[in-house]
Structures are given as structure tokens and as C-alpha cells.
């Protein structure tokens, strides 16, 4: 390289541009190399999550690929449908709620065709370790108490933690987390009730669905 060029004003610019170009090229190649693998891993993760809340007896289809996007208000919700002999037996979708300190908790829940809960699991949260994290199945079986519940069981007033007059236990030292979770599960059930026919893939011709 000629020493004069290094002294010019354009050298640092060309250098920065060159390095940026090199870095982007490397990242593009890496993206191309890893994209298929990453997509596959994420699919496997999703599959594992769905299998936690939908019993095997409910489906014979490829759950992960039978997805439909439904608008709940402004928010698009991806719904996975578990079918047996073509008929939708259960649906599975994510709900989220602001937890303690407004950090997002993300849950996955599945509901059978009659509107009863098959299961709820927390996928990610930032609740206080030792207090709010009893919502994880690995720490407490609290989350299993939603199994079999539906909008009428308990009646609407029961869909709250005990402190608020409902039927669900709060945790010692942590009320906000279970309260938010109960509310989110209830709104998840309301989402199912509002879009039932669409979710079950049973839009009858001429009906108002």
C-alpha cells in the first residue's frame, strides 16, 4: 500500500467501509449456513412445548404445521390445532401477561373442543426466583390446578386468587404473579369462546360463525 494514501482523508472512510463490508459478508455466509438448522431447532422446541400441554391421544396430525393466525383485537395470535381423523380436538396458543414489575410472562395453553383447559405452562418469565417462580412446573404443581377448568368452572367470580375472593392459591410473598397469570388464562379462555367456530375449523356455510 502506498504510504501517501494512508495519509489522505479518505483512508479511514475506505477502511471502515471495507471492514463493514467484510463483517456483513461473514454474517451473511453464517446466516445462510445456519438458517435451516436454527429453524429446525426452533420447530423442535415448539413441538416439545406443545406436547407438554396437548395429550398425545388428542391428535394424529402434525400439530406444529397446522397453524392458523387469528386476530384477537389488534393482536395476531397463532393457534395450533390438534386434529384426530380431521376433526379439531384441541387448540393450543400463547397468551402473555405483565408479571411482577411489568416484565412479560409468556404462557402456552391448550383448550379442548368443549372449552375445557387441557394444560397451561409458563414458557418464559422474569419473576422473582424463590417467590414468583412457583408458576414453573419444575418448582411447584400449582400450574396443574388449571387442568380441566373452563369459563363456567369456576364461575366468573371464582377466576381470581383467593385473596381476591377466587379459588386459586396465591403464593406466600407473591400475589401479583399468580393474579396476573389467572387473569391471563381467563382471557385466553375468553379468546377461545369468542373465536370458537373459527378455531375449530367449523365455519358452517350460511352460519354467522
Amino acid at each position: 500500500m502506498k504510504p501517501e494514501f494512508r495519509q489522505t482523508f479518505s483512508y479511514p472512510i475506505a477502511l471502515l467501509g471495507g471492514v463493514a463490508l467484510m463483517a456483513s459478508a461473514a454474517i451473511s455466509v453464517a446466516d445462510w449456513l445456519t438458517r435451516a438448522d436454527i429453524a429446525q431447532r426452533q420447530l423442535e422446541d415448539l413441538q416439545a412445548t406443545l406436547q407438554q400441554v396437548v395429550p398425545v391421544a388428542y391428535y394424529d396430525n402434525d400439530l406444529v404445521r397446522d397453524a392458523v393466525t387469528v386476530n384477537d383485537g389488534q393482536r395476531p395470535v397463532i393457534v395450533y390445532r390438534a386434529r384426530r381423523n380431521g376433526q379439531v380436538q384441541a387448540v393450543c396458543y400463547q397468551v402473555s401477561a405483565p408479571g411482577y414489575g411489568n416484565s412479560a410472562m409468556v404462557m402456552i395453553m391448550s383448550v379442548d373442543r368443549n372449552g375445557a383447559l387441557l394444560g397451561v405452562r409458563v414458557i418464559s418469565h422474569a419473576e422473582t426466583p424463590g417467590l414468583g417462580d412457583k408458576i414453573e412446573l419444575s418448582r411447584s404443581d400449582w400450574i396443574l390446578r388449571f387442568n380441566g377448568r373452563s369459563l363456567d368452572d369456576p364461575p366468573p367470580s371464582g377466576w381470581a386468587v383467593k385473596k381476591d375472593g377466587g379459588i386459586f392459591d396465591q403464593f406466600t410473598g407473591a400475589t401479583i404473579t399468580p393474579r396476573a397469570l389467572v387473569k391471563a388464562v381467563k382471557s385466553g379462555l375468553e379468546f377461545f369462546a369468542a373465536h370458537r367456530m373459527l378455531l375449530l375449523d367449523e365455519i358452517v356455510a350460511g352460519g354467522k360463525f
Binding site: P12, A20, T34, D37, T128, P129
Partner: protein, 225 residues
């Protein structure tokens, strides 16, 4: 040879990223709730430190003084992105444990610090050794702090190490006390500050003790130690 040994001594102890330079404290507080997390984060950072030092050292003759910092940042960010993608694709179990923290390596100032103060002035091989030594020193610090917090906070050691290292490392997972009620403070960020503070005080006391012992012995060189 002796030169490299001194580089390792610097990285591992004398000029340790955490215990001497006081860098990398932000990811340190976030990650070190268990020894396993510390180990994983340490190894990932070591990889980035090593490759960043090599790349910076091999480009050092072309890098213009005026734009060196943006170039270092760009190179480090690119390397971290590459590491992030590779771990996600091929070491997915590790990614589930560490995923959130890998992008944090970009803001780990020890990587930029080594690029600026060492790799931009030294040959490639020495820079590689320095990156490796600094990374291992950081890993040591993260495991030590993570181990202390884990033992005090949940009475386990290397919990879930098999997720990180594979099934053959299950033997590392130790539960010290069953049904331990947990000491929450240690798992929250204040626990990180407390443990780090006590470790630093311990290191300082050790050094002062050594200085005090060495001072009077300085005159007669060949006396019994």
C-alpha cells in the same frame, strides 16, 4: 516461552479481568447465579476474546488510528453474532441456557479493552495467547462467583451442568443440602455484589499479607524461607 507464561499469569491472576481490572461486571452480575452459567458464559466469552484478538492483531497494520474504536466494535459485534448463530444452530441445548446472555458479550468491555490495549500493538500469536489467558481468567472468576452464589443461594453446585457439557458430566452436579429453603438474596443481583466484594477483600488481604511477610526478608536473600 517465559513471555507466554507471564501472559498467562497476567490473565489468570495478576491482571485478571474481574479481580484486578474490574471489567465485565455487568454480565457478571446477570449471569453468575450458578457455577454452570458462569462456566458457559466464560467459555463463550473466551471464544470471542480469542478470535477478536486474533482478528484485530492481524489487521493492526492497516487500522487507522482515528477510526480504530469503531472498527474494533464492528469486528467484535460481528464475531459475537457469528458465535450466537453457531451456538443456536449446532449447540442448541447450550443456547437455551445461555441464549439471552450471548449478545451481552458485545458490551463486555474486556473484549474491547484487550483489542485496544494489547492486540492492536502485538503480534498475532501473542495476542491469541493473551485472549485465551484473559478469557480463562474471566471464566475462573465467573465460576468462582457463580459457585459461591449457588452454594449459598440454593445449596447446589454445577446444577444443570449436563445440559451445558453433555450427559457424561452429570457427576459435576452436586446437591449439598436437600430441601434447602434457599437464600434469595444471593440469587438476586445484590448477591453478586456481595460475593464479589468479599472475594476482592480476600484477594487484597492475601496480597497485603504477602507484602508484609516479604518486606523484612528482603535483606538476607539465602535465608530459610
Amino acid at each position: 516461552m517465559n513471555d507466554y507464561r507471564s501472559l498467562f499469569a497476567d490473565g489468570l491472576w495478576r491482571n485478571n479481568v474481574v479481580f484486578a481490572q474490574m471489567l465485565a461486571l455487568c454480565p457478571l452480575m446477570a449471569v453468575t447465579t450458578t457455577a454452570t452459567n458462569g462456566l458457559g458464559m466464560g467459555l463463550a466469552t473466551t471464544g470471542v476474546l480469542l478470535s477478536a484478538n486474533i482478528v484485530v492483531a492481524s489487521l493492526r497494520h492497516w487500522i487507522a488510528e482515528e477510526v480504530r474504536i469503531p472498527i474494533f466494535v464492528l469486528l467484535i459485534a460481528a464475531l459475537v453474532t457469528l458465535a450466537d448463530m453457531a451456538i443456536n444452530a449446532w449447540l442448541h441445548e447450550l443456547y437455551k441456557v445461555l441464549g439471552l446472555f450471548i449478545p451481552l458479550i458485545v458490551v463486555n468491555c474486556c473484549v474491547l479493552g484487550r483489542a485496544e490495549s494489547f492486540a492492536s500493538r502485538q503480534p498475532v500469536l501473542a495476542s491469541a495467547v493473551d485472549g485465551l489467558a484473559m478469557g480463562l481468567g474471566l471464566t475462573f472468576a465467573l465460576i468462582l462467583i457463580g459457585g459461591c452464589r449457588e452454594v449459598l443461594g440454593s445449596a447446589t453446585l454445577f446444577a444443570q451442568a449436563s445440559l451445558l457439557l453433555g450427559q457424561s458430566f452429570v457427576f459435576l452436579e452436586i446437591t449439598l443440602i436437600r430441601n434447602y429453603p434457599g437464600f434469595l438474596l444471593m440469587l438476586l443481583p445484590p448477591g453478586g455484589f456481595l460475593v464479589l466484594g468479599f472475594l476482592l477483600a480476600g484477594k487484597r488481604a492475601m496480597e497485603q499479607h504477602r507484602v508484609r511477610r516479604q518486606a523484612p526478608v528482603a535483606a538476607p536473600i539465602n535465608s530459610t524461607a
